[in-house]
């Protein structure tokens, strides 16, 4: 056996296990130490998602593409919803990408802690790994769809300009938004299973409050700051700005959205850390 590892080293970590704190710290260093677990949990979820499916990873494309077709037909063609002068399919698909990332991440992560209770009651690891991993699982689907989107943009004869370099920033903002909401909901659902029923309804409602099918420009100027309190509004307009070079109303909306995300995310981390001390007892 490994004699090297079994020899106690002089600098062994001293751990003190105490009753719960009211204000726990967010231990990012510990989270970093468990990055491999984060990787494996994400990898597991991706790996098993399309097991025993006929179409496999094609589902990642099929869903947003069909949504786009339906939106183009009903909102673009029939209802004549304006699209800031952009071909409606591109206009909608560009928004559907971050939206799917968000919707998927929110519903996955909010069930994640309860869904992994067999781990939580049997072994220790930073619990934050669980919701973070489920937010990340949607990311691969997102990347696949992104390729389709680029193809669609080029097919419509549009060329993304220099602004595309800002895209990673907006992707990060979308992930942070999903994580912020996911942290709150996952911790809440441990105690209140009502959350499970809330999710489907919440996500649908949220879709209408986000400029996916319509441009933000139809919102009166004076209400746009309020409208941007929905951080996904900022994200979606950001995507359109970065990829299509045209966005009727980004500007101040972005800053409002980003601030909301930051506050919700930090609050979510704290709330989660505080609740996690009791997870194993109440889950």
């Amino acid at each position: 056996m490994d004699v090297l590892n079994s020899q106690p080293t002089p600098s062994l970590p001293l751990l003190r296990i105490e009753p719960s704190h009211r204000w726990p710290s967010i231990d990012f260093r510990e989270l970093w130490e468990y990055r491999e677990l984060l990787y494996f949990l994400t990898w597991r979820d991706i790996k098993i998602r399309y097991k025993q499916t006929v179409l496999g990873a094609a589902w990642a494309i099929i869903q947003p593409v069909f949504m786009m077709i339906v939106f183009s037909l009903f909102f673009g063609k029939l209802a004549k919803v304006p699209s800031d002068g952009i071909p409606y399919p591109v206009f909608a698909f560009c928004a559907l990408l971050p939206w799917q990332l968000f919707a998927h991440a929110v519903s996955e992560s909010s069930n994640s802690v309860v869904g992994n209770q067999h781990l939580i009651t049997k072994v220790y690891f930073p619990r934050l790994v669980i919701p973070i991993a489920s937010v990340l699982t949607g990311f691969i689907d997102f990347l696949v769809s992104l390729v389709v989107l680029i193809g669609l943009i080029l097919w419509f004869g549009l060329v993304p300009g220099w602004r595309i370099i800002a895209l990673p920033g907006f992707i990060l903002l979308a992930i942070c938004t999903a994580l912020a909401v996911g942290l709150w909901l996952s911790a809440l659902s441990v105690q209140y299973r009502d959350v499970r029923y809330l999710i489907g309804f919440l996500v649908q409602f949220w879709l209408f409050a986000t400029p996916v099918a319509y441009p933000s420009s139809i919102i009166p100027q004076q209400w746009r700051a309020v409208y941007a309190l929905n951080p996904m509004a900022g994200v979606v307009e950001g995507f359109r700005w970065a990829l299509l070079g045209r966005s009727s109303a980004l500007g101040s909306m972005l800053w409002v959205s980003a601030s909301v995300v930051l506050i919700t995310l930090l609050g979510g981390f704290y709330y989660f850390r505080r609740m996690e001390q009791e997870f194993a007892d109440i889950v």
Binding site: L14, R16, E18, R22, E36, L37, R44, V123, R193
Partner: protein, 436 residues
Amino acid sequence: MSEIVIRAEGLSKRYTLGQRERYTLLRDVISEAASVSLSRLRNSLSRTDRNGSAAGQNKSDGPETIWALNDASFEIRQGEIVGIIGPNGAGKSTLVKILSRITKPTKGYVEIEGRVGSLLEVGTGFHPELSGRENIYLNAAILGMRKLEVARKFDEIVSFAEIEKFIDTPVKRYSSGMYVRLAFAVAAHLETEILVIDEILAVGDAQFQKKCLSKLRQVGTEGRTILFVSHNMAAVRGVCETGFELNQGRIVAKGEINCVIDRYLAQMITRTFIDVETPSFIINDVSVNPLNSDVIKTFESVEIKVVLTAKRDIGDPGMYVGILTSENARIAGIDFKDFASVPPIKVGERFELGFLIDELPLLGGTYQLEIHVKDVSRHKIERVGNVFQFEVAETSVYGGRKLDAWFGSVGLKATAVQKLPSVTSEMVQSVESQVS
């Protein structure tokens, strides 16, 4: 003396009964919002009060709370292999969960020097759709092993589990034996300074259990600290050097493992029995008493006693007592009717039936009694189920080593017979002539 690596001071854990219910609905909370927030406030105040006295502890003790662990203090030195024993609900699992950081203590603290690896279950996080190879990496990551470390030991893990051929098959196609072997193999290669193990040997066949135990013993010789929780007294004796017994959340005995176990087994015999009712009887007491010593040993005489109260007039009382293994396999059964008949019993009368068993042929281990009572005149059997557990201490049946579960449950009264080839002088000559 080596240094202390685990120090627990006044470790207590309170559970609010009902808190462990599956889940709460928001409605319940809203309707009780006021009272809940008040008691939450009170709870959190007492929780932050880490210097709270024993009196403070009792104050919040309502009928709806239970102290799963109560003021447990202990020290464990580096390299010690400690057994934790006690009846169900004694707080063993709660202690293990606190040490593994799964749950927080309500009061008190533990200081631990070194990384803790905990095996509360084999195969935590195994996913049926993933292959053996994939599950090794996943499970190892969950247990806190590094990817490089796993890659280095991969072959060793696979050969320990004896699943070389199936390593790329999804584990849902594994037999349960293969599954358990793989799961234990990963866990056995965890290399933390401190290892906490809870009842994981309850799985797998006897052969594999033996392999696991010897692996544990080997780990023990590497100077690592092990805390081992088990109901399998033979395993605890075989692996541990010291130990302590928990009962109702308190540490009631500490010291050399054999002393702790013997004490525990001796008092198991005299523990109080809670009345069990059937339609026609109340069973007031069941006991299995060794006649010649404190503990029940193989081939010693024991007396099984059942105290009953009749709930109605019984014309022809009868009783059957079965002995089962802890896995519910029936080993023996004995019916009172085959020995004697009992005169009628009037309602409310208390009586006692029992058997004296010469040379109980059971090897060391945990057994259960099942009891059926009946009114033979009415042809109605009333089952009581497995009402009573007793423990047989490992005994050196044949004068040598103590026999453990590997030898089964039943002791055989045996003597060795051998017939060696008898060597005649003619044979020697013929062999010699062949050689020359």
